[in-house]
């Protein structure tokens, strides 16, 4: 009746749960609401712990039917509850605060009062232990409930799980994301896309129209909707309380019709309609990506419209439904679109891809205008780590060289920029002043950001290559330690007083000038300083694109093949004629160059660099996102950057547990899924090969 694994599994699960409890996780998270006034992070954490355990226990007992599964799961919940209660009671008797400093503080025992007692501190004097009972009841019920989901179809379960996680994440970071887009904006976009899509599908079935003509219909529908919106807006629909205003903040896209941006609005709507039509027969990836994006926008729109609502559940349920529906139906439609895509002539395929890419670029380009400073700053962080991740991936993912001193190249890039662009007593464009006080008034940097940037990249690449020379022959683990040493040495050097005049010592280099885009020679108004984060965004975006481009091209070339061969088997690779020294040094150089690129942009964006930004943690962060995203995979790294850098930026309060999670993730991913979330796809060269052979035969015959 009780599965033999139930009790041991539950007890194993108690070990990390107890340890985490002692770190004060429930006390730390207690003050943070996930759903305003309804659910706090502390409860969610306990629910997750119990849920995971119940799930694992349930999987074992599943064959024995629903009732027994629930029983086993509930038992596991009960065991956890008992262990936690024992811990709470024990702590109430013995103050553990000296040993476990973060454990929390509360009347009737430091652990009492949090979610562990359901918010009701226990009281030994009055014998009030209701809090513990409530907690136990919650654990048992929740565990039982979770185990029932095991009997849902697998896909449905996945959809619900992912949608719930995303909903909670959005809800948790509500404060940061609720100003991005309004519901009317999102609905208008949805309307246009859906119209275009449906029209194209209908035309597909009922008419013989060409693909281009269908896109034209979509565009026309987009135009019609735009005109409609313009008319409604003219009738006052955009005023506060109007049809187009909704309950949220002022619409960002729709309000374009009221001022000089109206042309842009019409173009956007027409493009959206055409996109809808094209998506009905585009590659599955592009199809899914755009619809998911739209679902995300709708979710953000709902959050925006409900941000002051009394009933918080409307927003939560709304977001959850939108996401769940999208997650469920989009892949199904995507398959359909992919089939249609494969039937279309190659020329249209190419054009469709270009169109999709172009639209994506346009969205990326316009995004910071809507995101606000905070969110664009988050995007900048993600982009920075994506650049470094893709760069480091050349070493780790492609060539198999584990570099733990990547921060050295990052620091070299940033400091090179600092030295070259920022005036100091040593570096001063013009005559050297007498005293430090005069530097600010008399000096300019030696060069501008744009001149210094390539130098930073080259210099980082060069030093990276040089550092690579002594460690060329070392294998995995030795290399890791030596590079770690390089990172530490770099950190000591920039901290040390010996180079203080040049590198600023512990104070770092402050006042790095922001990059200036100066097109004054064409038009005196065309000069901007990229100082705010949504301006710097473009620099970061540019860096990511360059990095992706270069690494992608290299990876799919003779050099990239050599790298991967070296990773697979160094000796055989050499015996196949690959020059290990050249190829490894090239990997070192390319990898470091991108760290330098990132470092320079980083320095310019924060306008000041400090030694404490260049510690081992940077290397570890980059390593983690590569490992979790997928070694040797560019999309993997970008996903990794979103998850590991973006999420924690949005959930700042959880910072205390950020590195702990990273470390644990590294271990878990390596054991469970060593290839990462998005492993690289092996290139499919057969078709290209056949084509190449045909064309070479043709040339031969002609000759």
């Amino acid at each position: 009746m009780i599965h033999r694994t139930t009790i041991p599994y539950s007890l194993y699960a108690c070990i990390p749960i107890v340890i985490l409890t002692l770190t004060g996780i429930f006390a730390t998270f207690g003050g943070r609401d996930v759903i305003r006034g309804e659910l706090n992070l502390s409860t969610l954490t306990l629910a997750a712990m119990v849920g995971i355990t119940a799930y694992l226990v349930g999987v074992q007992a599943r064959e024995r039917g629903l009732a027994l599964t629930v029983l086993n799961a509930a038992l596991s919940g009960l065991i956890i509850a008992l262990v936690l209660s024992a811990l709470v009671l024990f702590e109430a008797q013995n103050d553990l605060r000296f040993v476990f400093q973060n454990i929390g503080r509360s009347a009737g025992g430091n652990l009492s009062g949090s979610v562990l007692t359901a918010g009701r501190p226990i009281n030994a004097e009055t014998g009030d232990y209701r809090g513990l009972l409530e907690m136990a009841a919650f654990c048992v019920t929740w565990a039982g409930f979770i185990s029932t989901t095991l009997f849902l179809p697998r896909r449905l379960r996945e959809v619900i799980f992912v949608a719930a996680m995303l909903t909670l994440t959005i809800s948790l970071s509500q404060g940061q994301v609720n100003n991005i887009i309004t519901l009317p904006d999102a609905l208008a976009l949805t309307l246009v896309l859906v119209l275009g899509y449906v029209a194209a599908v209908w035309a597909e079935a009922n008419t013989g129209l060409s693909a281009t003509a269908k896109a034209g219909i979509g565009a026309g529908l987009g135009l019609a909707v735009a005109v409609g919106i313009w008319l409604i807006a003219g009738a006052g629909g955009l005023e506060r309380g109007g049809v187009l205003y909704g309950q949220g903040t002022q619409p960002v896209i729709l309000s374009m019709v009221e001022d000089s941006r109206i042309v842009g609005f019409f173009i956007a709507m027409i493009l959206a309609g055409a996109l809808g039509a094209v998506l009905s027969r585009s590659s599955g990836q592009a199809h899914d990506a755009f619809w998911y994006l739209l679902a995300g926008l709708l979710a953000l729109g709902i959050i925006n419209s409900q941000r002051r609502a009394d009933n918080v559940w409307i927003a939560v349920i709304g977001v959850f439904s939108v996401l769940a529906l999208a997650l469920y139906f989009v892949p199904l439609l995507g398959k359909r679109a992919q089939t249609a895509f494969e039937r279309t002539p190659p020329k249209f395929q190419r054009n469709a891809q270009w169109f999709a890419t172009g639209t994506a670029m346009a969205i990326l380009f316009l995004a910071p205008q809507f995101m606000g400073l905070y969110v664009s700053n988050v995007f900048n962080q993600i982009a920075l780590y994506a650049v470094m991740g893709i760069g480091l991936n050349v070493m780790i993912g492609y060539t198999g060289l584990l570099d733990l001193g990547y921060v050295a190249s990052f620091a070299i890039g940033a400091y090179t920029l600092g030295v070259l662009t920022t005036p100091s007593l040593v570096t001063c464009g013009g005559s050297l002043p007498e005293t430090a006080a005069d530097v600010a008034t008399q000096c300019t940097g030696i060069m501008t950001f744009w001149e210094a940037w390539p130098i930073c990249v080259l210099f980082s690449g060069l030093t990276g290559t040089l550092l690579g020379i002594p460690v060329l022959r070392l294998r995995g683990d030795y290399l890791a330690i030596v590079t770690l040493g390089f990172g530490e040495i770099t950190n000591r050097v920039i901290l040390s007083n010996d180079f203080r005049d040049l590198l600023g010592g512990a104070q770092g280099i402050a006042g790095i000038p922001s990059p200036v885009i100066d097109l004054g020679m064409f038009n005196s108004a065309w000069t901007t300083t990229l100082s705010r984060s949504n301006d710097m965004y473009y620099l970061f975006l540019f860096s990511v694109i360059i990095t992706m481009f270069v690494v992608y091209q290299l990876a799919n070339s003779r050099t990239g093949r050599a790298w991967r061969a070296i990773k697979a088997d160094e000796d055989v690779a050499q015996a196949m004629g690959i020059n290990l020294m050249n190829n490894k040094l090239l990997a070192f150089g390319v990898s470091s160059a991108f760290a330098g690129l990132g470092g320079a942009v980083f320095g310019a964006s924060v306008q000041g660099i400090f030694p404490r930004s260049f510690t081992l943690l940077v290397s570890i962060n980059v390593l983690s996102l590569i490992i979790i995203g997928g070694m040797g995979s560019i999309p993997g790294v970008i996903l990794g950057a979103f998850i590991l850098i973006g999420l924690p930026e949005l959930l700042r309060e959880l910072d205390a547990y950020r590195l702990l999670t990273f470390g644990a993730l590294l271990v878990v991913v390596m054991i469970v899924k060593p290839e990462g979330l998005l492993p690289p796809k092996p290139p499919e060269l057969s078709e290209a090969g056949e084509a190449a052979r045909r064309s070479s035969n043709m040339t031969k015959e002609a000759a």
Binding site: I19, L472, R475, Y478, V482, R492, D571, L660, L666, I671
Partner: protein
């Protein structure tokens, strides 16, 4: 044929050595530069024999602790061919456990009454904690990856290291904890002039304080200030290493360990329980690290316990293991002592600041890897690793 037989001796190793030689030149030049700096410092009288002796003794004590930790790396490497990156955190566990035990004793007054027993119990608790962490690591993180490609367990080890560091940080707080002062007075009849204080008008002499004390000594006319604890740590560590050596050489388990290090699959065929041998290895490594940790915090001046304290000793001990030839037990002992002395003597000899001590260890690591990648004692392993 005649042309060929002349070619019996090779031309200086041929092109195969081409990568190595410029490196050797750079390395040699760097070494010569270091020697030049050192010699000129000595010639200029900036460096005295007194400083040298003082540093040497301190370095040997510190180095013997490195040796203890390095043995943990070497034992694991010898058997699993992986660097247990989290070994530094095993060390930290011992330090925390030792700290809490000693703190309790100090609070309850037990320390003052039964100092020796308290110290021994502290060792015990430190060792047990380290062993527990080491064994848990092996079970949770490393065992599932026994046959994975080399990079995988290494990354896992890095992850485990971060996890443990952060756990200590969250559990025990970020603040450094000060290890209680310990005074252990011995032989009041011999050292009648030490640690004297006036109590109620009567002068009392307690004898030599072999843990907290620091005394002026004159050797060959050179006045030194020495701590007895340095010698105790040094000889204590030597004793532990001797015990380990005996264990590996003489016991059945030790022989099994050596067999597994030689060839895992054959050993398994011969009826050796490889899993158990590996766990034993981690237990030994953990115990050494735990003992090392308590020795480390007992030295006055080192006595800060904090979540990140294991990281640098860990890295340095690894360096020591590499210097001695990783996988080689006497090598690790030698490497630790060598590194400890180099680190302690180096800065003042080269006239650089003490903060650059870490740079010296890493510099040594790189130099050793350039000139002798297998370390000083590590010929055996070079073929096996490939």
């Amino acid at each position: 044929m005649s042309k060929g037989s002349r070619a019996v001796r090779f031309r200086g190793g041929g092109l195969g050595l081409f990568i190595q030689s410029p490196l050797h030149i750079v390395g040699t030049a760097f070494l010569l530069f270091l020697v030049y700096v050192a010699v000129s410092n000595i010639a200029a009288g900036d460096y005295t024999l007194r400083q040298f002796l003082q540093n040497l003794i301190f370095g040997l004590a510190q180095g013997s602790i490195y040796s203890l930790i390095a043995l943990g790396y070497t034992l694991v490497y010898g058997i699993l061919f992986m660097i247990n990156f989290a070994h530094g955190e095993v060390f930290t566990a011992g330090a925390y456990s030792g700290f809490f035990t000693m703190y309790t004793f100090a609070q309850s007054g037990f320390l003052q009454e039964n100092t020796l027993i308290a110290i021994l119990l502290t060792f015990l608790s430190g060792t047990i904690a380290s062993v527990m962490v080491a064994v848990a690591l092996e079970r949770v993180a490393y065992r599932p990856l026994r046959n994975a490609p080399r990079l995988v367990p290494l990354i896992t080890a890095i992850g485990a290291s971060i996890t443990l560091q952060q756990l200590y940080l969250r559990l025990f707080g970020a603040s450094a904890r000060r290890f209680p002062d310990i005074n252990l007075y011995i032989l009041p009849d011999v050292f009648t002039d030490l640690e004297c204080r006036v109590v109620d008008g009567v002068e009392q002499c307690l004898g030599m304080d072999i843990i907290g004390g620091i005394y002026p000594v004159e050797i060959f006319g050179i006045a030194l200030r020495l701590r007895p604890i340095s010698f105790i740590v040094f000889f204590g560590a030597l004793f532990i290493m001797w015990a380990l050596w005996m264990f590996i050489q003489k016991t059945k388990t030790g022989r099994a360990m050596r067999a597994v290090a030689e060839d895992k699959s054959t050993s398994a065929l011969m009826g050796i329980n490889v899993d158990r041998v590996i766990v034993t290895t981690f237990i030994l490594g953990g115990a050494l690290a735990g003992a090392g940790a308590v020795l480390f915090v007992i030295i006055p001046g080192n006595g800060q316990v904090n979540p990140l304290m294991g990281f640098f000793p860990g890295i340095k001990a690894f360096t020591a293991a590499v210097i001695g030839g990783i996988g080689n037990v006497p090598g690790a002992m030698f490497g630790g002592l060598f590194l400890g002395v180099a680190e302690s003597v180096g800065p003042s000899l080269l006239g650089i600041s003490n903060q650059l001590r870490d740079v010296i260890s890493f510099g040594l690591l790189v130099l050793v890897l350039i000139f002798r990648p297998t370390g000083f004692f590590g010929e055996v392993l070079s073929e096996k690793k490939v």
